[in-house]
């Protein structure tokens, strides 16, 4: 089975540390001799820019936005994930199907419908669901960026006047919906309120049983391959 690639997804709400973890995990796995490819949601060249600006607009139907994310995933899958898996690489997805489904559900779209729409995408070998309570994540978001975005504050999900209160309420909802999807088997919850190093080792532990045997230590044949950067 070592010829077949492995697909691992890292999911979770805003500010939970997905991207940092994926980057560090990719480096470690590559150093251990795995050929690694990282990909990200909103990673397709044609949809990345438009989706980022649509995210900030209220004049698009939530269902349409979800379908555009699905199109983005279809593109990333066909052009990046599938070829990497065929080469036997380990693919780390910085968000895959769970995040779009949870966001759609938070905005009143039937999650069964959303799952059916994304059913053409193969399930990952394992999904790591990063969890940290909204207050922790809010602090991280405010440390990292100058402004919060309307969608993080639940644009489309809640309509409170106070954006901060809206954000907390919406992000609590995200916590709950992600938690519901953690089953400890296919989707493993990782406490992401810890520091990045502890989170990285927890992620390594969670994936260790699923990884193929590394070809040999040292410089990997395929090396570390990064997906398209934003």
């Amino acid at each position: 089975m070592s010829a077949a690639g492995r697909l691992f997804a890292v999911e979770g709400p805003d500010g939970v540390g997905r991207t940092t973890l994926v980057r560090a995990l990719a480096e470690q796995l590559a150093a251990a001799g795995h050929a690694v490819t990282t990909v990200r949601l909103r990673g397709s060249p044609g949809l990345r820019g438009p989706l980022r600006s649509l995210q900030r607009r209220a004049d698009i139907a939530e269902r349409a936005l979800f379908l555009l994310y699905a199109a983005d995933l279809a593109d990333v899958y066909a052009h990046e994930i599938a070829p990497a898996l065929a080469e036997g690489r380990v693919v780390l997805a910085d968000r895959y199907v769970m995040t779009p489904v949870v966001r759609a559900e938070a905005r009143g779209i039937d999650p069964a419908w959303a799952c059916d729409v994304l059913a053409f995408l193969p399930a990952p070998q394992r999904t790591l669901v990063l969890q940290a309570e909204a207050a922790v994540r809010l602090r991280r978001m405010l440390m990292r960026r100058r402004f919060l975005t309307p969608r993080e504050s639940g644009l489309g999900a809640t309509y409170r006047r106070d954006p901060q209160a809206m954000l907390v309420r919406y992000q609590h909802l995200m916590d709950e919906l992600f938690a519901r999807r953690v089953d400890g088997q296919a989707a493993v919850g990782l406490d992401a309120s810890v520091g990045p190093r502890d989170l990285l080792s927890a992620a390594r532990r969670a994936l260790s049983a699923d990884l193929p045997a590394p070809p040999k230590a040292g410089v990997p044949p395929g090396g570390l391959r990064e997906g398209v950067k934003a």
């Binding site: 438009p50 004049d59 939530e62 349409a64 379908l67 593109d75 066909a78 729409v117 053409f120």
Partner: protein, 221 residues
Amino acid sequence: MATRRDRRRGLLIAVEGLDGSGKSTQLELLHRFLVRRGLGVHRSAWNSSPAVHPLTRSLKAARRLTPESFALVHAADFADRYEREIAPRLRAGIHVLCDRYVGTALARDGARGLDGAFIARLYDFARAADLTFYFQVPPEVAAARILRSRPSFSYYEAGLDLGLAQDPTTSFLRFQGRVAAHYAVIAERMDYVVVDATRALRLQQREVRRRVLGLLAEAGL
């Protein structure tokens, strides 16, 4: 079918057919006819969401769409128009004329090899049209009409993404032949009114109006 109970609900009328079948012309004539009769009517065209369409256009220009991503961006455009343009009007009792509706996705994405059940699921949030006309025309006639109005076929319209043929015209005929085959099945299953689109415009429009007046009478309008 609309009943008396739906008196205040707008009627949804759609036209389907190959590119070059003349369906948009027929819909425009119908639109004017209904407006002259004093009815509140709105027209919505496939692929025209202000939020989504610019994106679809650039994705098509880049020629990178897979059958799945092609289907999904078109569904996104439809979803945006359905939820923000079509459904609110139907609820407000305004009639909506759709230049292409779900049948287009079923036929085109089906011709690209996607599973019919998957396509139907993508669109199952939308209600069925009260009346759908299918303007039936052989692909050869459609091709000739298109080439009279512009110099060449567009990449996806000719199905060039599928590698059916190198030559655009041959590819167009093969791809649109497949689309027409899907339409034939859908028209039968979904009770479309099939209009022979090779006949004179005037004769086609007469049939369209007769059917629409019948529907309005049935709905008590």
